[in-house]
């Protein structure tokens, strides 16, 4: 996949969903790429054939990067396989855990990413794992910030301090999920824009946007809704300060979205680039 040069306007893509391959086929050239989950390809390899005609970015939720249990060699090999097949520029993975230790032989497999304890010990764990995984895949690993929905005992850092320390100790690049960041700010009660001032924005190569839902007094990620105005405002703010290589719209929980809506959303992201103060 050919990325724009540093400082140029980012590519705009869609997270894979039930309607995406049809949209890409019927509206060629509107989306620059599709971000496809490794788990989708691993479970249903025929998906790859449906996406042959568009560049792909590989996204992952299987490495449990901030957990205490390593992914299996089979999982690592499968990720490497799909990193090769998709020719992805990077492998996006969540700064989260999926597996928890159990008293027996098997682990507790949540099957979904969970925001970890944010502490020195977990920073060390993530750094060690990044160093160990470096070079194992044909493309670099980048880390995505998780939404925080509940407090984790033992946390001694804010999420920004946590991510900042990992960046300080490694050269890892970041996937800034602006919706996750906004959700975390709402749930923990801090100002998202002020906090982003302390975020290592120079490491951000990709941005995610998705919808938000307020239910039971908590803000939740919602890939069945469009990104709210607040998230687009954060996007504009970030683009004034840095130039990611790619921006992905994660609207992939719905069986279908009208094509006109998607085209409008993609155009809106392009307009945000055009309006931003940062020059190429």
């Amino acid at each position: 996949m050919h990325l724009p040069p540093h400082g140029a306007n980012p590519l705009v893509g869609l997270a894979f969903g039930p309607y995406v391959d049809r949209f890409v086929r019927d509206h060629s050239g509107v989306a620059d790429y599709v971000e496809v989950p490794f788990e989708q390809l691993d479970h249903s390899p025929e998906t790859f054939a449906r996406l042959r005609d568009i560049p792909l970015i590989l996204h992952c939720s299987s490495l449990s990067v901030a957990g205490t249990i390593d992914p299996t060699p089979a999982t690592m090999a499968a990720i490497q396989h799909w990193a090769e097949e998709t020719n992805t520029p990077w492998v996006g993975e969540h700064l989260a855990f999926i597996l928890g230790e159990s008293a027996g032989c098997a682990s507790y497999n949540v099957g979904y990413t969970v925001s970890p304890q944010m502490s020195v010990a977990v920073v060390d764990l993530v750094v060690e794992r990044l160093n160990r995984f470096s070079g194992l895949f044909r493309a670099p690993l980048i880390l995505e910030n998780s939404p925080v929905y509940f407090s984790m005992p033992g946390s001694t850092m804010s999420q920004i301090e946590f991510i900042g320390e990992i960046c300080h100790q490694t050269d890892v690049s970041l996937l800034l999920d602006l919706t996750h960041f906004y959700i975390t700010a709402c749930n923990l009660g801090f100002d998202a824009r002020k906090a982003l001032d302390r975020y290592p924005l120079d490491r951000v190569v990709e941005i995610h946007l998705s919808g938000v839902s307020l239910q039971s007094d908590v803000y939740w990620d919602n890939h069945a809704a469009l990104a709210p105005e607040e998230v687009f405002e954060l996007l504009a703010w970030v683009l004034d300060r840095t130039r990611p290589r790619a921006v992905t719209l994660e609207y992939n929980w719905l069986p279908n979205i009208p094509a006109e809506r998607l085209i409008t959303q993609i155009a809106r992201v392009h307009e945000a680039f055009a309006d931003s103060g940062r020059t190429a």
Partner: protein, 280 residues
Amino acid sequence: MNHAAAHSFVARCLVEAGFLSGVHRSPGIEQEDASDISFDIEGIRRFAGFLVKVRHNPLRASFPCTFSALARAGIEIEVFARYFDRFAALRATGPLSDGKRTKAFVHFLLDTLPEVNSSYAYLVRDVVLHEAQLWQLREIIQAASHAGESVCNADLLRSATDRTSLQHVPRIRGVILTARFSCDPRVLVMQLSRSIGVAAFDVERHLMTLGYWLVRGSDKLQYIELDVGAELLLSIVNGRRNVADIGRTCRTQGIPLADGAVFEALNDLVDRRILIWSAP
């Protein structure tokens, strides 16, 4: 608290519904020694609900407005959190077919919604019931075998005084499912379908019974509003009971209709082409 223990506890809550229920019922039991460290059990419980919701994303294709309605009523996470126990037990029985997953979910919603604290719960129930009827019809069509039917000369059946007419058997032309609603679900669904994300409820209370009628040999669904009498008769008509049988069943159910009146009511439905007469 060390991160391995914290992650392990959270992962176990998110994997073992029974463990989470136990901890939720007995707060403080998870506290380590006499320390102040405690988990946000309610937050974890809600997150478990979020995960169950995400696992039901494939049902959005058949129940798009149900998801939208749950979100609009502000009860989405709470409902799925309550479903965690039952869903975990269902998964423990083995691989779930789409049909099994759907039926279990619909039954759960119809059982649970009356107990949920929301002034919109009754509207959500109507949406669920409406989409369930449509889903069920699609399932019936896919599984249907078309039995032959003999249609008798309608001239023979003009008079209720003709004793032989009481031996004739009414049959439904195709398939009808009936359900009772507190408002017109077609209006609700139209409103919910127009938005991506959370749509507004704007519908008047209007108790009604709706028949979802698929004529044999046609793929066109027709909606028919039914009164209580027609609903009762259609629930008794089974292609084997004759007029006299149907009259007896009505009287057994506390509806004191003479056979002549039953015949006239059935003839109305024949005139509406919902039923046909077949020879005894």
